[in-house]
């Protein structure tokens, strides 16, 4: 079996949770990698929507931005942004929405706005963008986030989006799912220990009784992943 990176394991784990035919609101970076991997492996009918208004995009290379020209050229339809958010997202036509953030809490709430005080931030982050309405407008929210005490925090500096529909959080160490309203470690990636996951979490991490282990990436998955290079990263 080939070696793989933590990012590859994250992309594979998230990708496997997308069903064929799912309509997915995709962000740039790891979510784009996961969704494009799914479309090229077990879920060829997966519909990729980028918030620029491209519905059913089929990029051959991963876009650097959510509005790269190739997304428009390969899309089934390109709609203006007000229509994207009103008719398609608010209209309840999207199954899965991927979100990332700078911080997450045990309830799956996310912060992508500021570190520190809002009026005098230590770090001004980009802001919520589509996240607040995606978090409540899709059926299932998938979060992809590297796990560390700085990102998995007891107390968010700012609540950008709510966690009501977060179904899974895929990290570089394993996977968390809500159990009784609190994110619980349900799966570890190969070679990772419970202690490592706990140390990378800023709250007292619950561990599922039926804790499992992720299947390692297959050679086929790795081959597709590595063929998906990002534009502009040359």
């Amino acid at each position: 079996m080939s070696e793989w990176t933590a990012d590859e394991m994250m992309a594979v784990e998230a990708s496997r949770r997308l069903r064929d035919g799912s309509v997915c609101f995709v962000g740039i970076g790891l979510p784009s990698l996961a969704a494009n991997l799914a479309r090229r492996t077990h879920a060829p009918g997966c519909v990729l929507i980028y918030e620029s208004g491209t519905i059913g995009a089929k990029p051959t290379e991963l876009p650097l931005s959510i509005g790269d020209g190739e997304l428009a050229e390969t899309a089934d339809s390109v709609v203006p942004v007000p229509e994207m958010f009103a008719y398609w997202l608010q209209g309840g036509r999207i199954d899965v929405g991927f979100l990332g953030a700078a911080q997450i809490d045990r309830f799956g709430r996310l912060n992508s706005t500021v570190i520190g005080d809002y009026d005098h931030p230590r770090v001004r982050l980009p802001g919520g963008g589509g996240a607040p309405e995606i978090a409540l407008g899709v059926r299932d929210v998938f979060v992809m986030l590297r796990q560390s005490p700085r990102t998995f925090v007891e107390q968010l500096d700012f609540v950008t989006s709510l966690g009501d529909r977060v179904r899974v959080v895929v990290t570089d160490l394993g996977m968390l799912e809500p159990r009784d309203g609190e994110l619980t470690l349900t799966r570890l990636h190969p070679g990772v220990t419970v202690e490592e996951a706990q140390e990378a979490t800023g709250w007292d991490l619950r561990v599922a009784d039926d804790l499992g282990e992720s299947e390692p990436p297959t050679d086929a998955e790795l081959e597709v992943l590595r063929s998906l290079r990002t534009k502009g990263s040359s």
């Binding site: 428009a72 203006p80 942004v81 007000p82 958010f85 980009p126 309405e133 950008t160 502009g232």
Partner: protein
């Protein structure tokens, strides 16, 4: 309405203190017009834009803005907008007031402005800390009682967009990712549209929209005027530039030097491109 030089349109239509929206969602971002605002030294602008992108990083870093109304302020796929962060975190080159929304809220506000309605309505801004920090109000649906969010309409003094082409009468045609460009022009009291070229006749294109000359304030020719973003059918997004901007903009000195050389040191978009080409040759 005739086609006019960009410098004249900016001189006549954009004033210090105006609320100005430069739109274009990743595609067709009106950089040439943004650079002209910088060259003419506009001050105290309220800048409205969903995704500030590098163009507002440049305007903010050059001291043109008093306030920013926005929903996502990063360098797409790359990271931070360092000039925006420096203004918010350290007040350099001046304090910047923020009015922050979600994408859905911004889009609804533009659509309401275009429709001459006082506010946009959406199922959004529920929970979280953003509603306490921005201009949004809860309203009840008069028919069902459902709690909804109302955002005040965007009614900029000036809306500025870039498009692929116009005809000699000033009718504007654009296609590809359309963002909120049409809404921006229709919501604004005055408007400037820069185009890649002026043609004798607008050949129909798939998915194209046309802004009739009579809703557009000024049409200006600015070939390459969306760089480093792109103009579908004309040129691709300069992704390498977006990556390079991270380094250029990280420090105040390197940012100022770049702006002085390629924007203040040039008089229009053609000279800007020549200046970038010379820099590439030397690299």
């Amino acid at each position: 309405m005739a086609v006019v030089p960009l410098c004249c349109a900016v001189r006549d239509l954009v004033h210090d203190g105006d609320v100005v929206a430069l739109e274009g969602f990743t595609h067709l971002i009106p950089y040439a017009a943004g650079h002209e605002l910088i060259r003419q030294g506009r001050r105290d602008l309220t800048l409205v834009r969903m995704t500030p992108d590098l163009v507002y990083d440049q305007l903010i870093g050059m001291g043109c803005a008093r306030k920013l109304v926005f929903s996502w302020g990063g360098n797409p796929g790359v990271g931070s907008l360092h000039r925006l962060r420096d203004a918010v975190e350290h007040g350099w080159p001046s304090q910047l007031e923020l009015e922050e929304h979600s994408h859905a809220g911004m889009a609804a506000a533009y659509a309401a402005g275009a429709a001459n309605l006082p506010f946009g309505v959406l199922r959004g801004y529920r929970g979280g800390d953003l509603p306490g920090r921005t201009r949004v109000a809860a309203i009840a649906c008069p028919f069902t009682g459902e709690a909804l969010a109302a955002v005040p309409a965007h009614r900029p003094d000036v809306g500025i967009v870039h498009a692929q082409r116009a005809d000699r009468d000033g009718n504007v045609q654009l296609w590809g990712i359309l963002g909120v460009q049409k809404e921006t022009v229709l919501a604004s009291a005055r408007s400037i549209v820069t185009v890649e070229e002026v043609v004798d006749e607008l050949t129909p294109m798939p998915g194209a929209t046309v802004l009739p000359a009579w809703v557009v304030g000024a049409v200006c020719v600015a070939p390459g005027g969306a760089h480093p973003s792109y103009a579908h059918g004309y040129y691709d997004r300069d992704n390498d530039f977006y990556v390079a901007w991270d380094e250029i903009s990280r420090e105040r000195e390197s940012f100022r030097a770049w702006m002085e050389r390629h924007v203040l040191g040039t008089t229009d978009v053609t000279e800007y491109h020549a200046s970038l080409a010379r820099a590439r040759e030397r690299a």
